[in-house]
Symmetry: C2
Subunit: 246 residues, 2 copies
Amino acid sequence: MPSLNAPHTSERHPFQRLQSQLADLIALTPAGDRLPTEPELARRMGVSRATLREAMRTFEGQGLIRRRQGVGTFVVSHNHVIESGLEVLQSIESLAAKIGLEVTLGTLQVMRLSANQDQAAILSVPEGTPLLEVSRVIQAEDRPVAYLIDLLPEEFLTLDDLQDGFTGSVIDFLLRRGSPPLVNSLTEIHAVAASSEIARALEIQRGDVLLMFTARLFSGEGQVVDYSYSYFLPGYFRFHVVRRVG
Amino acid sequence: MPSLNAPHTSERHPFQRLQSQLADLIALTPAGDRLPTEPELARRMGVSRATLREAMRTFEGQGLIRRRQGVGTFVVSHNHVIESGLEVLQSIESLAAKIGLEVTLGTLQVMRLSANQDQAAILSVPEGTPLLEVSRVIQAEDRPVAYLIDLLPEEFLTLDDLQDGFTGSVIDFLLRRGSPPLVNSLTEIHAVAASSEIARALEIQRGDVLLMFTARLFSGEGQVVDYSYSYFLPGYFRFHVVRRVG
DNA sequence: CAGTGGTCTAGACCACACG
DNA sequence: GTGTGGTCTAGACCACTGA
């Protein structure tokens, strides 16, 4: 069908109509069931696969569907939401425990490295200081929902420390050990698009939207103990904060 | 060039190489200058226009470039960042004033409407209660950077109120008037992809990532005075919060 | 009007999961 | 192998801007 395009002149907002059709389809499909394949859906909706996929992104971003390469697209069962105020710093693990949600540790990676210029500046240590980088994926309801990276001087955490009863959470470990004394954390809040690497870790698509926190954790003496950046899948977390009126 | 694809077998991460080439190009281009056209860039990089555009999304999301239909793609001049803690509720206008950044009111829309079921639930008013919806676009450095919508019962704000010295900010207006007394706001933090409508208002692309706040503003008696949802362009805002160690 | 980015199409191949 | 989603291509038309 070459040229003669004009496919949408009869509709004011054809893309929105497509989205609404898909929304209906998803709503009518029992949770856990597989949707028709993409070529089939595209044919049925009368659009190209590229356009269909563009429309599907919306629903994936809301956590309503999950696409798995080589398997299919599935309607997600209604999930628990991890809800938390930001006033108090807590590990995801303790948050989840509080609401009775079971979370498991996905891949855990620990790397020793030497502080480069940026890292040195952030942690207020000399360049070349030995650091430990702990990255982990958190799973809930059998899918990755968060990707957390901690970066801290070996002074505060060593590979050996992790041999014994490490649950995945650096904060929980430091708190349990009691030293160094932790006081507070300065957390920045961002929205980002997933890079290829992070998309892979969280089993989502490159470009999908993520909530991101970066945090410096301070000890009593105002020392930076830990720098972390965390990525959260929308739909699984609800963070809130109470703001005073100035 | 039909078939015989294998365009990327010689490269481990061809897409990342493309991104890195683009990053170099953007870095070397003086702020404010226009980049080559998309077809030209695609040819030069040896990829299709679709692939090029996919890679460009990254940089637009970081606020490094700005694409303007009918005009071209421009490297963005280094911009001020509106930085703020979330502990205290302030209007964007007062935030900007504090850091000496000039912001202007873009399009302002005010609508009277009657509370539907959802709105009634959120505001704790009976269905059908007359409401006022105030939506506005905030501009900084000559481009839209935030889209804010306030929804509140006419009991608290009427069309007439807006005739006289309304600067755009509902909060500032209520504070200045002093009634009802405002105490705090419960704000939820989300990351979302821009819908077509919001993309249009903010002059970005559908699907671009945005930081979103939803907030209920409470009076002294625990009454919901205002419900707002706000969309922020990444790169122009830096919100942070200090978290106590539990 | 010409030229730009915005969108869509049709088709191909790749990467992956599962039998 | 077979079939799924993931990615890319080449080309077309649309919507918009500004001369």
